[in-house]
């Protein structure tokens, strides 16, 4: 390599961008956010003072963002859900599978529907084939029995099998259908963390079969049962590595929330043995809605008195999560604050405990 190569590479990469879009709205939004922070610090008088100086294109700085109540899809403005996050209905897309008011979505964020089926009423088994392009998949397996009591529904199971692995796992049935008819996008990810399913061969043929059984694994029939089976191929993921550089967990690079796609924007992770003596911190986005995923992965064994981890820096009260689990919390507005994960009570020590604690943030894509 020489300097000419370097200069040419930098220029070529920069040229791929073309002309910049109009960034003025984005700048105005950030100025507005900064002014709110300053006003909140300095009081009402300061707020009125700064509100008077915006002119020109940045007059939009002080114009409140248009909000309409959730549930008004006819409005042209952005809608806000009950949780304060942007909301929009997900329109029908090519490749969606629909039947009797139910929908298997063709995609959600970077997860793509590879194969799926919604059974007829009373159909007690389903088989779905697909052509795998990755071993990393997530399965949607649903069973609805609307006329059954919750207790009776729990006694009905769906046994799922991939390829030649019969009776791979089971899930119980439910009397309640999904609100709105949109079925979950995946949920069961077979195989070791970060490696995908060992029973799927890229370039081969995949088969997912589901059967309605009872708790003794015997085939059963019900006239009102509705089975659903689908395979989603997962998009890019980011690995969370432990102190030995082994993959302790993976996070999707994109998530969908209330019709909007969010991309991974920040990740901080460290051994739980370190967090016992300190904390993990990650800076939240300076503005706008975001998602924060936090918790622990790769915990070596479950204890009878598990430790809890506390996330602070979010809107509302700090939230706790048990070791070995993680969750995602929507946040309606970042302000560049520190999100902090600390180990809470009971502090039983971490001797012999393996695991990795992490905080990750996701911001909306365009």
């Amino acid at each position: 390599m020489n300097l000419s190569d370097l200069r040419e590479e930098l220029t070529a990469q920069a040229d791929t961008l073309g002309t910049a879009p109009d960034l003025r709205d984005g700048v105005a939004a950030k100025v507005r956010q900064a002014k709110r922070r300053r006003a909140a610090t300095a009081g009402v008088g300061a707020s009125l003072a700064v509100a008077a100086i915006a002119v020109g294109v940045l007059t939009g700085v002080d114009r409140p963002a248009p909000l309409v109540p959730a549930g008004s899809p006819s409005s042209t403005g952005p809608m806000v859900g009950a949780n304060g996050m942007p909301y929009r209905p997900v329109a029908a897309a090519p490749g969606d599978i629909t039947k009797d008011g139910l929908r298997l979505r063709a995609h959600s964020a970077d997860s793509l529907l590879a194969g799926g089926a919604i059974g007829d009423l009373g159909q007690r088994s389903l088989s779905v084939g697909w052509n795998p392009t990755t071993t990393k998949i997530s399965l949607t397996i649903e069973c609805y029995v609307p006329s059954a009591s919750p207790e009776a529904a729990m006694d009905l199971m769906v046994r799922a099998s991939i390829g030649s692995m019969q009776g791979y796992f089971s899930t119980s049935c439910s009397p309640a259908m999904e609100a709105g008819g949109d079925l979950p996008v995946g949920g069961i990810e077979p195989g070791p963390t970060g490696e995908g399913s060992p029973d799927v061969t890229v370039g081969g043929t995949g088969t997912l079969r589901v059967d309605l059984v009872d708790r003794q694994n015997r085939p059963v029939s019900r006239p009102d049962v509705r089975l659903v089976a689908a395979v989603y191929e997962l998009g890019p993921q980011t690995e969370i590595r432990d102190a030995d550089r082994k993959v302790a967990g993976v996070l999707p690079d994109t998530l969908e929330q209330q019709g909007y796609t969010y991309r991974l924007s920040g990740l901080m992770a460290g051994p739980v043995t370190d967090i016992a003596r300190g904390r993990i911190e990650l800076e939240a986005p300076a503005s706008g809605p975001f998602l924060v995923t936090y918790g622990t992965v790769g915990i070596d064994g479950l204890r009878t008195d598990p430790a809890y981890y506390t996330l602070s820096g979010i809107t509302g009260e700090a939230t706790q999560i048990q070791e070995g689990a993680y969750e995602t919390a929507p946040q309606s507005a970042g302000r560049g604050q520190w999100l902090t994960l600390t180990r809470g009570m009971p502090d039983l020590g971490t001797e012999g405990t393996k695991g990795t604690a992490f905080i990750a943030t996701y911001v909306p894509t365009r």
């Binding site: 390599m1 590479e9 930098l10 002119v55 993921q237």
Partner: protein, 174 residues
């Protein structure tokens, strides 16, 4: 609002309109991500907006300085009370054909991605912006000696990066 205010704001709008493309390209070379680059430029411009009437000299240099320093502080971590610079999260490729774009990156682009932030910033300012060592030092708010050492280390890393082997043209770069 005074007439002077209006002129200042109008000049800011003109600046945004005329310099966004240039700033965005620099930001992209720093972040290697278009969305992050746009966010970085917007963040830098919003900070400049508050100081617009007080900027002495060339506003572009001022905005670029904010941009580089904001970029350097992003992904900052505080770990047990210590502060250090964290790299972007590791990503691994997917088997899916629509992600082959990752593979289309050149080896040199990948090698640049692996540089520490300050070194990457020096490379961009010196060899894309063609700034002098003194100008680079002013933007990065460090000494000329630091710029020299960071550039030297960056170039050395690029030359020895495994993805660039075999390097038949091991000519001197300085």
């Amino acid at each position: 609002m005074t007439g002077e205010d209006t002129v200042e704001r109008a000049s800011f709008d003109d600046f945004v309109a005329s310099r966004s493309t240039r700033l965005l390209r620099t930001a992209y070379l720093l972040t290697h991500d278009r969305a992050l680059a746009e966010d970085l430029v917007q963040t830098a411009l919003s900070k400049a907006w508050f100081a617009w009437g007080r900027i002495e000299g060339r506003p572009e240099a001022y905005v670029r300085r904010i941009m580089v320093n904001t970029y350097s502080s992003w992904w900052r971590r505080r770990w047990n009370g210590e502060e250090a610079t964290a790299d972007l999260p590791e990503r691994h490729d997917c088997h899916r054909p629509d992600h082959v774009r990752v593979d289309e990156r050149t080896d040199l682009w990948r090698a640049l991605e692996r540089l520490p932030k300050r070194q990457r910033a020096v490379v961009v300012l010196r060899f894309y912006e063609d700034l002098s060592e003194a100008e680079t030092a002013e933007i990065m708010q460090c000494s000329v000696g630091t710029v020299k050492s960071q550039a030297s280390r960056a170039l050395a890393k690029l030359r020895i990066d495994p993805s660039l082997r075999p390097a038949a043209d091991e000519e001197s770069v300085r």
